[in-house]
């Protein structure tokens, strides 16, 4: 007869000492999974059950977090100064900043701020970059004049984002960029890309003693 075993296990990383240094990730071209495999050895066929575990890497506020401020432009055409209040944002953070127009000689239709996710897999000659536009956020409608300052307030919680991952297990990277795009009347696009670092903040509801407790996900 088949023995029904229901296993209910609460696993504490501290007790098992298994180090999970990376965050679970499911991307376009690669995945990083943690799962618990229980195998019951039998004579003929082993019973194997797998349960996936979601692992989140929690960080705390970085020690240094300077703002991103730069003047960019095209000679005699368009000069702007953009400013984002930080270079490192947590996933529920808000990007606050402004775009200041120093010189405007083109006819601008609108301006938007996009979040681009770049997943890099492979290495060396087999490196493959996959760009995905996570969001398109219109920050300006119409044509400004010299001296105008346009505010930016972009809530990251609206989007499906992961923390920045650099060279995970030497296999893949996930990086994020802010792409500032200005579109003119003839649909020409002028853009400036700027990398930002995303990190995961511990949720305030998580009690310190429960840190490290991993939520079990019902897979079947």
């Amino acid at each position: 007869s088949i023995i029904d075993c229901r296993l209910k296990a609460v696993v504490s990383t501290q007790s098992t000492g298994v180090v999970k240094q990376y965050e679970s990730y499911a991307g376009r071209n690669c995945r990083l999974r943690y799962f618990l495999r229980v195998a019951v050895s039998r004579r003929l066929v082993d019973i194997v059950h797998e349960r996936e575990l979601m692992v989140h890497q929690l960080s705390s506020y970085p020690e240094t977090n300077s703002s991103l401020k730069m003047e960019v432009g095209i000679e005699d055409c368009l000069h702007i100064e953009f400013e984002y209040n930080r270079s490192k944002y947590h996933l529920n953070d808000v990007i606050v900043g402004k775009i200041y127009f120093i010189l405007v000689r083109i006819k601008i239709k609108h301006m938007e701020l996009s979040i681009i996710k770049r997943e890099t897999t492979g290495s060396g000659p087999n490196t493959y970059n996959e760009n995905e536009q996570i969001s398109r956020y219109e920050i300006m409608d119409g044509a400004p004049v010299r001296g105008e300052s346009i505010p930016i307030r972009l809530f990251l919680s609206a989007y499906d984002l992961t923390p920045t991952m650099k060279d995970v297990n030497k296999k893949f990277s996930v990086r994020y960029y802010l792409n500032l795009v200005l579109v003119d009347e003839e649909d020409r696009r002028y853009f400036k890309q700027q990398e930002i670092t995303l990190w995961r903040k511990s949720p305030t509801s998580l009690k310190p003693e429960n840190r490290g407790v991993v939520a079990l996900e019902n897979h079947t």
Binding site: S135, E138, D141, G142, A143, V145, P151, R153
Partner: protein, 676 residues
């Protein structure tokens, strides 16, 4: 951009369909308590306001429809939602919307509810809303968005008499509105420079359609209770004027200056008059300050008239305006004469209405006008119509020619009118005198008056060489004739001086005119003789005076004779003879004899038509018969002359008639000896 009307209507209808549908869906979702769905439909609805196709009028219609639907959303949030949820979360949630126009409309809608919930500082929320609106830089969409901001926050701006503490002051409200106003004005002015130069008129027309959106900010400011005179003077007005000056746009400046005048109370204007007028004076292109100045003069004029105590003692309205107007006219050398005169007229009206007793003020305005035109004659070209209009203002107001005569510079301005206008004005003056039955009773005044209407009295240098329409001429000169009767004094001596003055003027009229004008004068002289005769007891010199008058009459009649007005002269001689007879003094008798002889002379030499002869001789005989004071010495020759003339008539029947008339001369034979 769809230009034709039908295309516009088509696009508008399509947009309205979408709005109707999405609004319905939104309402349905909200009724079920499904906020997220409601917001989704609201966003779809608001997307229609992102259009670039609609012209201002159509866009406005769409805007009205959409914003009305948003009130349902507002009500839901203020009602059901807020009981169980934190509005702060909603404030963040709506900012997730990808497109900025829907996002900001939703943000404002939520923001108002947020303010009312008092969970957060009013000032912070208002500040946030007005700043975030910067994201819409498209003029049309931006103007309507900010208008939505202004109207939505109508009831939640901090003011002095609300009881909510620590969340914003009246200064915050003022700053909020001023910022919104500046941004809106910038967008409005920006419209001027968009697009092709050939479309400029159309663009300006569109701008004018939208002006009220900008003006509403000022109106809202004026409604704040906490805006006192001092706040207006120190905070509000300087900020508004700064924006007006910096924007360098004449449409904005003209409309908004006028708006300021209309929305803020008069006592504010009194306090800030200098600052305001200084801004007008700044040389800034083509702004038509004329209407602005006239508008404010008019308003303060009405204010002063409503209650004279409204104007503080130290504010000399007339001096201030007079000075500023002069400054403006001098600094703008290109100002057309119509504008100059319109400004001067406004000043005159101010003087007449607010300072009725100061005729000197009116004269000052006239003097300034003279100076302006004298300095540069070219400025006066082509201004006759306006100048006439301006000169009629005091005439109509005073209704009394005597006051007009006192205005020294009134007549001087006549010199700048064209002949036709001048004459019309003179006729106007003359009619005024006659209709109001004014008596001009001093010879100095008469002199001034006749100089004033010299256009009617005498030929003018700039008169055209063509002869005038005889009917018009007759009417005009009859007017002058009637006028003479108004130039009269109750004091006989004065009256004589007046008569002399009149003669001096009227004789310059030339032969064409005297037939109409001199008879009146002669009759007045005759009248004066009677007056002196009646007052004989009081004036010992009366006989001498009467003699002088008779000489005067004689000279006038000689002039008529010279001008060959035979019939007229004949009759007038006879009239004069009658009065001579009545007066009864020696010199009068001599004069009377002379007059009758003259009448005869005319009869014999100039009356040739037989019918006319009969009439004339009958007249002479009849007149002569009336006389009672001729001495026999004088009576006899004249009688005989009558008889002789009668018998010489052409037709026998006429002869008979005339001779029988003469019989009366013989049988009654009234003469001095017979004592009647």
């Amino acid at each position: 951009m769809a230009n034709s009307e039908t295309e516009q209507a088509k696009y508008l209808d399509a947009a309205k369909e979408v709005v109707k549908r999405e609004a319905f869906n939104m309402q349905r979702a909200l009724d079920k308590g499904q906020l997220m769905d409601g917001l989704r439909h609201a966003t779809e609805m608001l997307n229609e306001l992102r259009t670039s196709i609609l012209m201002p009028k159509s866009y406005y219609e769409l805007y009205m429809m959409v914003t009305m639907e948003l009130t349902h959303l507002n009500m839901y949030m203020s009602g059901e939602f807020i009981k169980e949820n934190k509005i702060a979360d909603l404030y963040e949630l709506v900012q997730h919307a990808g497109n900025i126009v829907p996002r900001l409309y939703l943000l404002i809608t939520v923001g108002v509810v947020y303010i009312k919930s008092q969970e957060c500082s009013r000032k912070d929320i208002l500040q946030d809303l007005v700043e975030m609106c910067r994201g819409v830089q498209h003029p049309l969409r931006g103007l309507f968005l900010r208008n939505f901001l202004l109207t939505s926050t109508r009831d939640v701006l901090p003011d002095i008499d609300d009881n909510i503490v620590d969340s914003g002051t009246i200064d915050d409200s003022i700053d909020f509105i001023l910022l919104n106003f500046s941004e809106m004005n910038k967008l409005w002015v920006r419209m001027q420079h968009q697009g092709h130069s050939r479309d400029r008129t159309k663009r300006e027309q569109e701008r004018l359609e939208l002006k009220i959106l900008v003006g509403t900010n000022l109106e809202r400011l004026s409604r704040l209770e906490g805006v006192t005179v001092s706040k207006y003077q120190n905070h509000v007005l300087p900020a508004i004027l700064k924006q007006l000056i910096n924007c360098k746009d004449s449409i904005a400046q003209e409309y908004l200056m006028d708006c300021i005048i209309q929305v803020f109370p008069d006592e504010f204007h009194l306090k800030t008059l200098d600052t305001f007028l200084d801004t007008c004076c700044q040389p800034q292109g083509t702004v038509n300050v004329r209407n602005i100045i006239i508008s404010i003069i008019g308003r303060l004029s009405n204010y002063a008239q409503a209650d004279p105590s409204n104007i503080p003692e130290d504010i000399e309205l007339f001096q201030i305006f007079s000075g500023k107007v002069t400054q403006i006219i001098q600094s703008r050398t290109e100002m057309p004469p119509e504008d100059i005169l319109a400004l001067q007229s406004a000043l005159i009206k101010l003087a007449l209405n607010v300072y009725p007793s100061e005729t000197g003020y009116v004269d000052k305005v006239l003097e300034n006008t003279c100076n302006i035109f004298n300095e540069e004659r070219s400025r006066a070209k082509g201004c006759s119509a306006e100048l006439s209009r301006m000169l009629r203002v005091p005439i109509d107001h005073y209704g009394d020619i005597l006051t007009i005569i006192q205005l020294e510079h009134f007549t001087q301005l006549f010199g700048f009118l064209e002949y036709k206008s001048r004459k019309e004005l003179c006729v106007y003056l003359a009619e005024n005198v006659i209709q109001t039955e004014t008596h001009i009773d001093s010879h100095d005044q008469v002199d001034l008056f006749l100089t004033m209407i010299s256009c009617l009295v005498t030929d003018q240098a700039d008169q055209s060489a063509e002869p005038e329409d005889p009917e018009d001429f007759e009417i005009e000169q009859s007017l002058v004739g009637r006028l003479v009767h108004q130039l009269t004094s109750g004091i006989p001596d004065q009256q004589f001086l007046i008569l002399n003055t009149c003669k001096k003027h009227l004789l310059t009229g030339g032969d064409k005119r005297i037939q109409y004008t001199l008879p009146s004068l002669i009759f007045r002289a005759i009248q004066l003789c009677r007056v002196y005769h009646d007052l004989a007891a009081e004036d010992e010199k009366w006989e001498k005076k009467v003699t002088k008058i008779l000489m005067y009459i004689n000279s006038l009649l000689s002039t008529l004779v010279k001008a060959e007005y035979w019939d007229l002269a004949l009759r007038l001689f006879l009239q004069a003879a009658l009065v001579c007879d009545m007066v009864g003094i020696q010199s009068a008798e001599t004069a009377g004899y002379e007059f009758v002889s003259q009448a005869f002379a005319i009869y014999e030499e100039e009356v040739s038509d037989s019918k006319a002869q009969l009439i004339a001789i009958s007249l002479i005989v009849a007149t002569f018969e009336r006389t009672i004071n001729f001495s026999e010495e004088n009576h006899e020759p004249l009688r005989s002359q009558c008889l002789r003339a009668s018998s010489k008539l052409l037709k026998k029947p006429d002869q008979c008639r005339a001779v029988s008339l003469c019989a009366h001369l013989y049988w009654s034979g009234k003469n001095r000896e017979m004592a009647g």
